[in-house]
Each structure stands twice: as C-alpha cells, then as structure tokens.
Assembly symmetry: C2
Homo-oligomer: 482 residues x 2
Amino acid sequence: MAKSWATFGVDLHLDPTGTQTGTGTGTGAGVRRGLTDALRDAVRTGRLAPGTRLPSSRSLAADLGVARNTVADAYADLVAEGWLTARQGSGTRVAMGAPPTPLRQWGSAVVPPTDTTPPRRLSNRPTYDLVPGTPDLAAFPRAEWLKAARRAFTSAPCQALGYGDPRGRVELRTALATYLSRARGVRADPEHILISAGISNGLRLIGTALRARGAHTIAVESYGLAVHWQILAEAGLRTRPLPFDELGTNQAQLTDESAVLLTPAHQFPMGVPLHHDRRSAVVDWARRTGGLVLEDDYDGEFRYDRQPIGALQGLDPNHVVYLGTASKSLAPGLRLAWMVLPPSLMDEVTKAKGGIDTCGVLDQLTLAEFITSGAYDRHVRAARLRYRRRRDTLVDALAQHAPDVHATGIAAGFHAVLSLPPGTEQSVVQAAAWQGLALHSLSFYRHEHALPDPLDALVVGYGTPPDHAWTGAVEALCRVLP
Amino acid sequence: MAKSWATFGVDLHLDPTGTQTGTGTGTGAGVRRGLTDALRDAVRTGRLAPGTRLPSSRSLAADLGVARNTVADAYADLVAEGWLTARQGSGTRVAMGAPPTPLRQWGSAVVPPTDTTPPRRLSNRPTYDLVPGTPDLAAFPRAEWLKAARRAFTSAPCQALGYGDPRGRVELRTALATYLSRARGVRADPEHILISAGISNGLRLIGTALRARGAHTIAVESYGLAVHWQILAEAGLRTRPLPFDELGTNQAQLTDESAVLLTPAHQFPMGVPLHHDRRSAVVDWARRTGGLVLEDDYDGEFRYDRQPIGALQGLDPNHVVYLGTASKSLAPGLRLAWMVLPPSLMDEVTKAKGGIDTCGVLDQLTLAEFITSGAYDRHVRAARLRYRRRRDTLVDALAQHAPDVHATGIAAGFHAVLSLPPGTEQSVVQAAAWQGLALHSLSFYRHEHALPDPLDALVVGYGTPPDHAWTGAVEALCRVLP
C-alpha cells in the first residue's frame, strides 16, 4: 500500500513492504531507502529548495506511518551525503550549496547509482570518509598487479579464455589452497574451493543451497552487515540474532538453526575475537546437530598484537564453510572472494552458481600469479604496517583530545568502535556530517532483533582515506567527539 | 527415489528428479548428467574395464526405468569425450586407451570440473572440437588487451577500485551506449545499461525480476540453449516454445506470456534472421499486451552477406531488452555481457543483481578502453574475415565430398546447420566421436516441447579450432558425413 506525502511539493510514494522502492530491500531498509531516494531526488530537481526546513523526524514519521528511527536514519544518510544539513536548534534543512561528492552508503554493500551526477564538492568543506569496509584504494599495487597480469596472461593456455570450471580457475584455487593453509590455518584442497564475486555473492550461493535443502532459519550475530542478512532473506532464510557480550557472540542459544554466520577472528563491527571456548562450542553444536558454521574471515590477515588467529575452519572442515575475500586485502573492485566448502556441500553450491563460472578469468589468473609470486604477502605486510600506524595515530589523538571516548576492537582490522555517552550517537553523526565527515553509527550495524541493549558508539574505518588525508580526518573526527 | 544398477560392478545411483545429480539440472538433463557421471567414474576407476561391451541403450533404459534417449545421449556424450567407443555391429564399448582431453559439454554452458584430471590424448587420434558457441580463443588479442588494460588502469581514479555502481562501471556503459548505437542500431543511454557476467547471468537477473512481478510463463524458441531455459526455470518461469519455420520463430501464438526470448538477428542454432514482418509483429504484441521482448544478440557483429541486421530493440526500447556479450566477439572467459533495459525495468533488475556490482572493474575498464580506442572494431573486423574464410572452406568441402548435405544459416555467425538424411543424426555424431571429432546434433538444441517435427542435422561450430587445425577438422567432418 503506497502512501503519498505532498508536503513541500515532494511526491513521495512509499511502499512499507519495501518491494517497490527501487534497489531498497527489506521492510525497514526498503522504506528508509525509498525515503532517502525520494528526498534526494526532490533536492536534486529543486522541488525542495536550498535552505528549506524539513519537518521533524517525529512529525514526518507520523505523517508517513513509519518508525521515527527510519526517518531519522534517512535524514542522517542525507546529511552524511551533504544534501541536508543538521544544526542544533536549527533543525534539518536542505543544504545551501550543491551536493558534495556522494559518499558510500554501506560499508561493503550498496552504492547508489550516482556516477552520472557530476560530483561537486561544497566549497571550503573538506570531505573525509570514515565509513568502514573499504581498504586504502590509493595503495592498490597497480604496477605489481599489471606485471602479474602480463605474466599470467602470457603463459595461460587458450582454453583458459573459454567457458570455465564453475568453481573458478584451477590456478587460483590451487594458489589459495596453499596460501590459506599457510596464512590462516585453513584445511583446503583446490577441489573444494569455489570462487565467488565477493563474500556477499558467496553467501547468496550458500543461502540458495541451504534453502534448497529445506533450511528455514540461520543464526547471525547481533551486529553485522545488513546486506548479508538481506541476501540470506532473499534466499528465503530467516535470520535470528545471537546474544553478544565481551567474549564475542554467544552460541549457547543455538538450537535447530541450519547454520550460523560468524566473524570469529574479528567480530564485525565490534572487533572482539571469538573466545576459544566458544570456538569449540560452536563446532560442537554443528557436529551434534548437522548444522553448518559460516566463517566470514573478511579481514583475517590484519592483526597487530600477535600472530593472526587461525581460522575456525581448521577445527572441522566438514562443518565449517570458510569465506575469504580480496576486497579488504586488495580492492573490492576485483570482485574476487573464495569459499572453502565441506565436500558434502560442493555440488549444491556449484549448482546454485548456475553450473557456470561467473567471475572473469583474467583477474583470477592474475590473482593466482600475484599470490604464488609472493607479491600478495608483500602487499599485505605493507598494508598491515600502514593500518597499524593509522590506528596508533587515532588512539593517540583520542587520548589527547577526547579522553572520555574509548576505542575498542583495535587489535585487528582497519576499523575501531568508539564508545559514546548514552543518547549522543545520532547527534555526533549529524555533527560529523556537518564537518564533511562521513561516519557510521553502531546502530547502523545492529540487527533489528539484536539481543544486547543498544550502545551509543561510532564505527570508524581507517582504511579509506589516503595517507595524506589521514591526519586531517582524525582532527575532524576529534572536533565532533564529545 | 534412487535406483541402483549393479551391472558390470557399477554402483549407479540415479535420482529421476535430477536434484541429487551434482551440477546436473532438470529432470531429463539431470538423469543424463547423473548417468554420464556414473559411467565416466566407473571407467576412470577401472570398475568398467577397457573393451567391456555395454548393454544396449534399450536394455539399460528398461533396467533403469528412464527414457531410452537419455541413455543414448549419455552414451553419445561419453563417446564424444573418448571414454566409450561406438562401432556399427560392435555396440558400445569402453575405450581401449586412456580418455582423451575432455571436450566441452555445452555450447555456452556447463563444463564438467575436469581441470584436475590430467588430460591425456589417445595416441594417433586427433581431436577436433566443432561444438558451437565458443570463438577462436587462439585469436584473442592478448597484446592489445594488455595495452588497453595498462592505459585504463593507469588513468582510473582510485574510487573505481571500490564497491561499484550496481549497474557496472560508467566508463564501460558509456562506451557501449555509443558503440551499440553505431554498430547495432540500439537506442541506448548509459543510465539504462547493466553489465552482467554473461548473457546467461543477465537472463537470470531478468527472470528473477519478472518472477517478482508475478510472471509465470515466458515464450522461447523451439531451438535454443537448454541452459537458458534452465535458468528461466530456476527463476520460477515456465518456458513455452513457439513454432519455427523458414521465416524464423512464429510469434502468432504469443498470448499472455510475460515475455518472449528471441535471437532475431541470427536464430540460434537454426541461423535464419527473423522475417521483418515478424519483427514488427512481435513488437506490436509487446506493446499491446505489456509483454517484454528479450533480444539475445549473441553474435550480431558477424554477418557476411550485407550490413548487420539492426537490433530489434531500436524499434521500441520500452518493450525490448537488448542482450549483447563479449563472449562471442572476444572470449567467454571475460564474463562480460550487457543489457539495455527499458527504464521501467531498471530498478527491478538492479535489485535482482543484489544492489551491488558483481563484475570485476578491471576488465570493465579495459573493455571500455578497448572499445573507445577502436581496438574492438579492428578485432571484430579481423575475426569476421577469419570466420568467413572458414565458412567458405567448409561449404567448398561439403560441395566436393558430401554433396547431399546442405549447410544453412551461414550468412552470419560462426556455426552452420548441416541437414542429414532422416534417422542418421545419432549415428553420425557417434561416428564423429570415433574420429575424435566433437559435434552436437540439432536435437541437442531442441526444446522438449518444440513444435516442429524433429529434423536430423548437425550444428557445426567453426569458431573453436585454431586456424592451423581447421583444414584437418573439415576433412574429419567430411569423412563422417553420409
């Protein structure tokens, strides 16, 4: 049922089921996306003039019959993108200048199709992007990659350019089997590795295979990526969040779920490693019930305090699916990720992929060459040092300028969780947007049925800004912290 | 319900629903795949010794309770792969030597995961692959492609390496809009182009979007690719074949289908262009009923008798989806195809893609540079000349050595249909396999509910063999023709 909102000349059609809202998906997320799109469009086309004051989130929510948080979130998104401004005492208004370069909307998910709107930045307002999920793209080893491409491409047989093995190129699967065993303690052989176009694409394949087996429910973590939950929902699976505490996600409430999706090495976004007792317990659960553990090892290479925590998959390759990706270690644009599958699941997931490889072979051959030549190890080592330096700068700056804010989850990866005084989360995000600083709140990553009480916090990614902008980004961040 | 066949020590489990047979899909195809896999495995492991005579297809079919054709097809597959041999009067036997290099199973679809079996060729038995659907991979312009990659990669902004526009890179969509308008008469703007991992992947996205709209049935051609029908079936759509005659596919029986999938420029595999009256009529049907025409323009660039036939999409971009691909013009391994979508369908198909780009950006950027620099045009021109020469060699050889066999559909593309005397199709395919010649029969491409009477014919692809092997391939072909 569509509702119409004609205030301020905005012809806003919202479908609370979320099915009619373009690329928006799921109920809450779909409405929020629909609202964001409609408001952005109204500003872009001039139907909402610069300086116009928008209704309060409370009154607009009542008008539309949606949750107040949905409206507040949509406003925060548009403030972060620069279409709206928010100031204490002045409410939310349409920004006076042209919109700045649109920022990414999701840590590792949906980007609005904005390429074709010529990006313009508001004058004298620097933009820093501290949304987590993307590595430093300026540090992508372009020259090394091209060299590897040339070597791989020169030696590849012609047949490599044809319709390929649905699991992906054997060269890459072989290189990964060796690398994952050495670097992550994964028990892998090339036969049971399947290449996918990102971890989200891999989850889609596994979700489809599980649903075809008759699965209905998958347990997930209370904090995580909405796009993953959405993908599982689209495959027909209900997601049920598990409680979270200082030892990580608590598996004790697992019952008859078909699978559980975890980030054991470095919980995303909270940052804690899964306690070793719980690591064993979740594998025990899988053995006892025939359930499956999906181990999302998105940033397993980046650990600063000690040796990387080995993959859970090493405990039981027959009950754990290992998911890794080049999106954090190299670049998301490669669209290359990998799964190590229990042999019993191989055929079903290959079938879900359509029985055909959907990933380009040239990048697969290049990545294989990049790994076997040692260039991948060198790149990861350099990136680890760079992120560690950035993390140290961040921690030092917080100690000096915001002593009440504590950064947690920083022993690994390239994001930190900054705890905030209760009730301040949204105002800090809005103030940050006003500074041209894109930030995500912790609530952005909270499952709608999450069990812990909501915490006020920021999730700050320190991968994205190029090196030369990092100090400025940290300074801008400190200015908006309480 | 699984059946067991213990003859010759083969422990053969078949699931007639096709759901348990690995990557095999669909009832008939699934059983055939399951049988093929089981027999191949039995030969590989020695459970079926070299020289062993297999039961007749009739008696094995009765034993298994499956259609006789399914067994005959499985035998023919394995003969083509070299595991079995078939000789008049001697029946079907396990081959005496090691199996040769496994050949492709589908024109543009599934390849069995054989990478890890070290390929060995039977001594003194040359292998020629005349299965249609793959271009000459030895002619892939590797040096030019690497140069374009270097140029594209050097000038790309860092942001191009991040999570991308779900429609695909704007550089590629812009290059394609210009190219398709010039070369194929497509009315395209970059906003309504969506990049997919091959045409089959594009059909999966459209099928999903149509199903979400409530569609149940899609009309298809009587001859085509089973993998396309299968993909549409997996999306929840029933495929209903339209009659085929000398003017192409007859649209007169279209009623309330949600869409129709056609190959208007060069029917695959029959090779005729859709008659111009029918081109108008099918667009009229779409306008009248709100249906959608899916135009698969898989080899539209390759026409030898005159200027390429313009795309149907030019008649009505609001009712026709144009699908093109780099798989025939460059190489399937790139996994790059494109759709030009009616604006009204854009959001739904983008959503079906998961709201995220799943195609690697490096190849997208390289292809954009390849097109805009003119290298693509040069490559297509050279390939067109090469395929035309091969076609002429084929036609000349047929006239000389097999005057009763007529090649049709040869004004375009890189495959021909060779008509055969009634009742000889399977024996010719088996004799070809004995010569180390992989061929597909026309019945391989026939929809199970196809309306015309079955014709005995071969579909001969002349793209695959490298230039130096072409004369030998034609000679081997002529030896097996009646």
